[in-house]
Symmetry: D2
Amino acid sequence: MQSSSITVRVRYAETDQMGVVYHANYFVWFEMGRVECLRQLGFDYKQMEIADDCHLPVVEATCRYRAPAHYDEVLTVETRIIALRSSVIRFAYNLFHVQSDVIRLLAEAQTTHVVVDGKMQKRTLPEKYATAIRAQLK
Amino acid sequence: MQSSSITVRVRYAETDQMGVVYHANYFVWFEMGRVECLRQLGFDYKQMEIADDCHLPVVEATCRYRAPAHYDEVLTVETRIIALRSSVIRFAYNLFHVQSDVIRLLAEAQTTHVVVDGKMQKRTLPEKYATAIRAQLK
Amino acid sequence: MQSSSITVRVRYAETDQMGVVYHANYFVWFEMGRVECLRQLGFDYKQMEIADDCHLPVVEATCRYRAPAHYDEVLTVETRIIALRSSVIRFAYNLFHVQSDVIRLLAEAQTTHVVVDGKMQKRTLPEKYATAIRAQLK
Amino acid sequence: MQSSSITVRVRYAETDQMGVVYHANYFVWFEMGRVECLRQLGFDYKQMEIADDCHLPVVEATCRYRAPAHYDEVLTVETRIIALRSSVIRFAYNLFHVQSDVIRLLAEAQTTHVVVDGKMQKRTLPEKYATAIRAQLK
């Protein structure tokens, strides 16, 4: 699948006293990548929740941190869907820092999501989403 | 009003690259103080939301930062209600670091809250809460 | 002073169970506005810390919340410097949501900062910064 | 290894608009568990950084989310060290909600840490730490 790409500028609030970004914050950026990945497929996650009662809580998350991210750096999150079953979606992420043609890979991650309704009950992904995602996965 | 008191241990995630706690995080501690202040009056904020459809979003927040807070310090948040009208409550907070009998005041703050229902419409505070708070304010 | 302007898209992580943005997160956006305001004056806050040993911790912060912010909204933070003394800077912020030509003011805020070195000792703002800011304040 | 145990009360700030705790926040709790696990071994992570110039950034983090956590719940984080090499430590975590004798497992996680100095250069774990940890691992 073609990956979608967003940039985030590191916020001061995201750093910790080691002088680098606190590790948990990467998962917030991956979520932003995920939402843009869906948007690129033509979907608005906000509407997915409101109009289709379809939510995607994380059931598994993994990240390998390869190099630290620093305050004020502009980072690139590349996101793609790597697996789809009726009620499960898996995303993969690469986090890069690009500066003066030097590309550093900062982190690689995956998150797995189960499709649920607003009461947290498992449900199948509506067909319009599944169709669009499957078309990309080929 | 007698103030309620809680302690919080500073988390690594709450520090920033200056080596002190990031200023926005104090408001999270004040919220914790607020919830315990209500609990001491006999109220459970969780039930206040669920059972009484009564929410207390912040409409104004002010903090004076007097000394920095550091990682792993155990801090004391003292909270008291300082004003009540039919749909408005105001809390005041003092944040202390106590160590070996030396008390440092780290911050003083106030937050003002409007009483709303789950649809964010203004409503009056249920009488049971108002009565208990007024008894304390005297 | 002419204000600088940035946009932020609300992250899922920034919402709370009321379905709106948690109030403390606004201060993170204001910090982002502050950094861009300095950048527009020709300054890089990161370099200000590294090269000039000049840090701007918050000593006072106030926010009036006028309307809630929601997930995925693209918000505008307008920031300007409203006061400068030798070791103190004050910023003012307006947070807007603009959609289909309807402008909603979500919040108004101010933060006051003291100029310190890396050991948290008060110092005067280097003249290059002071000069540039004073030129704007006129 | 015997696990150490801490409790955390879920903060309003940690919830998101699904009405449950945002997934990235679990990693903050695991860090708290980690620090207490070290404290139980006789070590103060703060001093480890200051006195021994020994930091433990996360190089890999994995979490399986089994059930959601809710606002105001008091959760238990059980932490233990599961592997140690000269410059690498691995921790495992279980997150529980215990209420009226019903124990729910909310999440299982692991984090791997590399031992570095303040300049982010890999170093070996000082012998006093290694000895104490190895004694527990047996």
